[in-house]
């Protein structure tokens, strides 16, 4: 790394949890008369958290920040407070820090109970950071559940007209999936203990996982995989996602698509692939099938959508399908680029959801058939929308292209190895469809004749905070697109060591 952060900040990982937590409480206290200052308090705390996450990026040896304390130890059960960051999680932690801050900035004009709104965002940050940093299954599960609650309230309190339906659907789907996951977690933890002390820490379970039989691995892989994959999401358990996105406020959508969906794929790599390599081999074809289905189905569904935000939601399903096929390759390149795609899609979907949200606020509708020819009236909005669309359809030079290129190449390697090269056609068709739905949407919203179906007297271009948030995200997309090694460098070693585990089967 060209620059190394000179100090070691004590308890950095704990601070990444505590700062947003204090921020959430402080913001919540800004009720009544002080409401209009809530955003500044929230911005300060999420800003500090972002800077702390940035420090991590410039730390050459991440192991100095490991924290480990025994939390509960009774009757042969040990649960610990372990926080750790490695090549898999560092980009996700960074992404969380950046996106929470930027979505706070983007939502600066939120006037409806802002202290609740911003407190929920910060509360969600606690959970998200925690999931990516946890080194103990008990802690991991608790924080996983913690993320659900703020999101539920964000949708139910600040959402659109069908917010209750969407919020409940979101909650039940993901909650039930996490129950299945919990069963899986118990299975691996008790399985690894093998009658001895039941230790929930990742390290202990990993050490004990050598004894797992193939049958055990296969069954438990199924449970855990299902629990994680619903979160990604996978077809046909995806219908909660478009509804949740359509109803959620912009900041909620940004975090949902940008960071929360990645919890699913993170879990699959962290738990399923690391611990259950035999299970992964057994489920490989199924994962490939699920990934292709999500990719193509999601892309086709996008074409049919009329709501801009719903289209972007389906495109998330399609892009997460790419992550799925990359993981399914069980190879060095596959894992490296699966993680890279998680990061890339986090940034790109943030831009897309901000733009879709801005369409709702600034134009008054997100219905594509009602729009048209707006590029002349809203040049800044149009520029960001085109940037987001182009990034998402994989324009070379922006971060999404490299991720997709690597993923499809790893998938190509896999198809050659099983002698089914034609499978690669699904990926290429998806790329084509992706360009198709984005450009068609751009044609119908930004270009062509100016719409007469809506009242154009009240539409206005992006406000300054919106431009700042979008501009910063776009700058990151371009930065990592021109210099992909900046992100790939973090993942490389982790991916090759995991591939060794998987390949040793």
């Amino acid at each position: 790394m060209f620059f190394e952060f000179p100090f070691e900040i004590p308890y950095l990982l704990t601070l990444l949890l505590v700062v947003p937590l204090i921020g959430a409480v402080a913001t919540l206290a800004m009720g009544g008369e002080r409401q209009k200052y809530a955003k500044y308090v929230a911005g300060t705390f999420s800003g500090i958290a972002m800077v702390l996450s940035l420090v991590l990026l410039f730390t050459p040896d991440l192991s100095v920040y490991n924290e480990s304390y025994t939390w509960i130890e009774t009757a042969g059960v040990r649960m610990s407070y372990i926080l750790t960051v490695d090549g898999l999680s560092i980009l996700m932690v960074f992404l969380t820090g950046v996106l929470v801050f930027l979505s706070t900035v983007f939502s600066a004009r939120e006037h409806d109970r802002p202290h609740y709104f911003f407190a929920l965002l910060l509360a969600m940050e606690v959970g998200l950071m925690g999931v990516y940093m946890a080194g103990d299954y008990f802690l991991f599960y608790i924080l996983w559940e913690v993320t659900l609650i703020p999101m539920y309230f964000l949708i139910a309190w600040f959402g659109g007209p069908r917010r209750h339906y969407a919020a409940i659907k979101f909650f039940i789907y993901t909650h039930v999936a996490s129950l299945v996951m919990l069963i899986g977690i118990f299975a691996i933890v008790f399985g690894a203990a093998g009658g001895g002390t039941v230790d929930f820490s990742f390290a202990a379970v990993l050490a004990g996982s050598a004894a797992f039989s193939t049958t055990f691995q296969t069954l438990v892989f199924g449970l855990l995989f299902f629990g994680f994959a619903v979160k990604m999401p996978i077809v046909p358990f995806h219908t909660w996602l478009p509804d949740a996105h359509t109803e959620a406020p912009t900041a909620g959508s940004v975090l949902l698509a940008g960071v929360m969906l990645k919890m699913g794929s993170y879990g699959i790599i962290r738990v399923c692939l690391e611990l259950l390599p035999d299970g992964a081999q057994a489920w490989q074809m199924t994962m490939v099938f699920i990934g292709i289905l999500a990719m193509v189905y999601g892309a086709y569904a996008c074409i049919a959508q009329k709501d801009l935000k719903k289209m972007v939601a389906f495109s998330s399903i399609s892009h997460m399908g790419m992550v799925m096929i990359a993981m399914a390759c069980l190879s060095d390149i596959g894992i490296q680029f699966a993680v890279f795609q998680m990061f890339a899609h986090g940034l790109i979907s943030a831009v897309l959801f901000m733009v879709a949200g801005a369409a709702g606020h600034n134009i008054g509708t997100r219905e594509i058939p009602l729009l048209g020819g707006l590029a002349g009236k809203l040049p800044v909005f149009a520029a960001f929308m085109m940037f987001g669309f182009l990034a998402s359809l994989g324009l070379p030079g922006l971060v999404g292209f490299w991720a997709e290129f690597g993923i499809i190449f790893s998938f190509y390697e896999y198809t050659v190895s099983i002698d089914m090269i034609w499978l690669i056609a699904f990926c290429l068709i998806t790329l084509l469809l992706t360009a198709g739905y984005y450009l068609w949407a751009a044609q119908r919203t930004l270009f062509g004749r100016l719409t007469t179906k809506i009242d154009l007297t009240h539409i206005h271009d992006l406000s300054r905070p919106e431009v700042v948030a979008l501009g910063a995200t776009c700058a990151l997309i371009a930065l990592f697109g021109l210099w992909p090694d900046l992100a790939l460098g973090f993942i490389k070693d982790y991916a090759s060591s995991l591939a060794l585990t998987l390949g040793a089967v």
């Binding site: 296969t218 070379p396 190449f409 084509l432 100016l450």
Partner: protein, 681 residues
């Protein structure tokens, strides 16, 4: 000393793009002069680099200079970024930057009235030029692809330049918006093929560097069928980018953009990228004669079909667009025929055959350069006419020669050149193309296909001369039309000066290149297989003259060209023959087929609509009715509400949870069963 700074060639225009993009509003003419500076800088540097390369020792052996650094790695495969300079890159770099400079100068006059939109225009054309220059100097396929797609993006943005707020109203706006989308999507179809080709190459060769892939021993070690697959996929990208059959439909639509953009796309950038890539991949493509046969046949078909569609078109820009397609077809035909013979020669170690094949390569590259000059001249000339008359319809022109002398004469030179009138630039390269294709017909089992293509190419030469002079006579001679009355006379200096500069190049460059510098072109494929250019010599003046004038068919094509010009003269200038009689005043079947572009657009729209939107409707139905419908039906059945889902309230959350849980568990069971059937543990 200049070659080390090759990276500045694309870098300076891209910096202009950034500067104009952010600060163009405050610059004079929306940043136009800065764009001109960027192009001019690239042009001067390109010439210096080329001079240094041609005089260096690397020129003869190994034939290229390359330097690169690792950009990032995909697993154990390093992806590099750097430059690769050989005679082909020098050629492309020089003509692209030179012509772009003139187009940008011309734009200052042409786009003067566009107001605030000028900033966008100059930023995007600078990026466009960056794309072409970066493509020319790229050292590997992936780097090349980045620039390739940058050009795709710019063509999308510039074709859609009037995609909103078109000065001519709503209908024109819709046309521009739709044309831009079509251009991007059709080329994208090719691009995903090209990506597929890169996956094949990266997997087989372990690298995407030109130097590594084109290495003879590396190619020998790879399964020929995989090389064939990779080559065909790469050519798929070329078909999209260079608008070859069957993906030729986007280019005529792309006329919706400003005329200067058409000049840029047709002459200096974009469609030339495809020709460049085929020439660049010559070592790879010549591994299989079948690949080159495919390239040639696609080129021949395109040359013929595109020419037919130009025969009766009334739009001055569209006639030129079809002529571009047709001329590009010639280039691919020449490269394909030459490559075919080289590939056969390599298989049988026949050096004579390889030498004949090399003529095809020279002819293709030479035609690319010639075409760049005369097509830039013709488009800029047509822009001058459109600027002055305010119409693109040739029926509203006529008799403009008196009012616009400079435009008229320069366009006449361009037309003579493209028509292959003896001793003009286009004549030399076109004759060589025909010559090569005729020879290719004599070799190999599938050679007869080239004989067919040769006949088509000769017919195309006739049609080209006819439609070009039909265009010239309809515009500058004949009866004055509505637009002629409104003509404000000759265009401003910034527009006529580029025309005057281009005209001598369009007239004479072909002869100069062929007779003086042919070695610098042909050497691009030195060391392909066993092909070795003789000790520092090209084919020589006598050799070329012999090739061209000893063949009886040369005189045949000259006669056909003259006849075609004569027919056009009688029909559209002297008006002594009424073309309406030939086509039953536009009601004959063939006339309608040509007007409807052989119904290609309708066919594509139908296919695209069915495969895209049709399937999407089905998926949407499954999603809302079947998948989500099941979830909602299950929940309402248990909750007992029976009402629409919109009324679902928080009260029955637990029941809802139970139902979803049940559904998930059963679906999970189904998945498990499926997975066992799929051959898991």
């Amino acid at each position: 000393m200049f070659i080390e700074y090759t990276w500045l060639v694309p870098l300076v225009p891209v910096l202009c793009f950034v500067a104009i993009g952010f600060l163009g509003k405050k610059m004079p003419e929306g940043g136009g002069p800065l764009a001109v500076f960027g192009a001019l800088f690239a042009c001067v540097l390109s010439v210096l680099i080329s001079y240094e390369f041609f005089t260096s020792s690397a020129y003869a052996d190994p034939g290229y200079v390359t330097a690169q650094i690792t950009w990032f790695s995909i697993g154990s495969f390093d992806i590099n970024i750097g430059y690769y300079i050989d005679s082909l890159s020098c050629l492309v770099m020089m003509f692209a930057s030179f012509i772009s400079t003139l187009i940008f100068v011309y734009s200052i006059g042409y786009m003067h009235g566009e107001g605030a939109k000028k900033r966008r225009y100059y930023a995007q054309v600078s990026l466009f030029l960056t794309g072409m220059l970066g493509l020319a100097i790229s050292s590997n396929f992936l780097e090349m692809f980045v620039f390739w797609e940058a050009m795709g993006l710019c063509s999308y943005l510039l074709i859609g330049f009037w995609g909103f707020d078109h000065p001519k109203g709503d209908d024109a706006t819709d046309v521009a918006a739709s044309a831009a989308k079509k251009a991007f999507l059709v080329t994208r179809l090719g691009d995903v093929c090209l990506m597929g080709g890169m996956f094949v190459l990266l997997y087989e060769f372990g690298s995407l560097d030109y130097a590594a892939v084109f290495d003879a021993s590396a190619m020998a070690a790879v399964d020929p069928s995989m090389i064939m697959l990779g080559s065909l996929l790469i050519f798929g990208g070329v078909i999209g980018k260079s608008a070859q059959f069957p993906l030729l439909d986007w280019l005529p639509d792309a006329m919706a953009g400003p005329t200067t953009v058409s000049a840029l796309i047709h002459a200096a950038t974009m469609v030339k990228a495809g020709v460049f890539l085929v020439a660049r991949c010559f070592p790879l493509f010549t591994q299989n004669p079948e690949v080159m046969l495919f390239v040639g046949v696609i080129g021949g078909i395109t040359a013929f079909f595109a020419a037919t569609m130009a025969l009766n078109n009334m739009n001055i820009k569209k006639v030129l667009a079809y002529s571009t397609l047709s001329q590009l077809g010639y280039m691919f035909l020449a490269l394909g025929a030459g490559g075919y013979m080289m590939a056969l020669g390599m298989q049988t170690h026949d050096h004579h055959l390889m030498a004949i094949g090399a003529i095809g390569y020279t002819a293709g590259c030479l035609h690319m350069v010639n075409h760049a000059f005369f097509k830039a001249l013709l488009f800029l000339g047509s822009g001058s006419v459109i600027h002055s008359t305010g119409t693109e319809d040739m029926r509203e022109m006529g008799g403009l020669h008196g009012k616009m002398k400079i435009t008229s004469i320069t366009m006449l030179i361009g037309s003579l050149s493209i028509a292959g009138f003896p001793f003009f630039s286009g004549f030399w390269s076109k004759e060589l193309v025909l010559e090569t294709v005729m020879h290719a017909g004599d070799y190999g089992a599938e050679g007869y296909l080239f004989t067919i293509m040769w006949i088509l190419a000769i017919v195309t030469a006739f049609m080209t001369a006819f439609y070009m002079f039909r265009m010239w006579f309809m515009t500058f001679k004949g009866k004055p039309g509505h637009g002629t009355e409104h003509c404000h006379g000759e265009s401003p200096k910034s527009m006529t000066v580029p025309l005057i500069i281009l005209a001598p190049f369009a007239a004479a460059l072909g002869a100069i290149l062929l007779f003086g510098f042919d070695e610098y072109v042909t050497i691009g494929i030195n060391h392909v297989g066993e092909f070795q250019l003789g000790s520092g010599h090209g084919h020589g003046l006598e050799g070329w003259l012999e090739d061209i004038f000893m063949s009886i068919y040369t005189y045949l094509t000259i006669a056909l060209v003259l006849a075609a010009i004569g027919i056009a003269y009688f029909m559209y200038s002297k008006m002594s023959v009424d073309p309406g009689k030939l086509n039953k005043n536009g009601s004959s079947m063939i006339y309608r087929a040509l007007s409807n572009r052989w119904w290609f657009p309708q066919l594509y729209d139908q296919i695209g609509w069915k495969l895209g939107n049709g399937v999407a409707r089905g998926v949407e139905f499954v999603d809302t009715q079947v998948v989500d419908g099941t979830v909602n039906a299950l929940s309402s059945a248990v909750a007992g509400s029976g009402d629409s889902i919109g009324k679902m309230q928080t009260g029955n959350m637990r029941d809802y949870a139970a139902v979803v849980m049940f559904g998930i568990v059963s679906l999970f069971a189904v998945m498990l069963v499926l997975f066992y059937f799929m051959g898991g543990a």
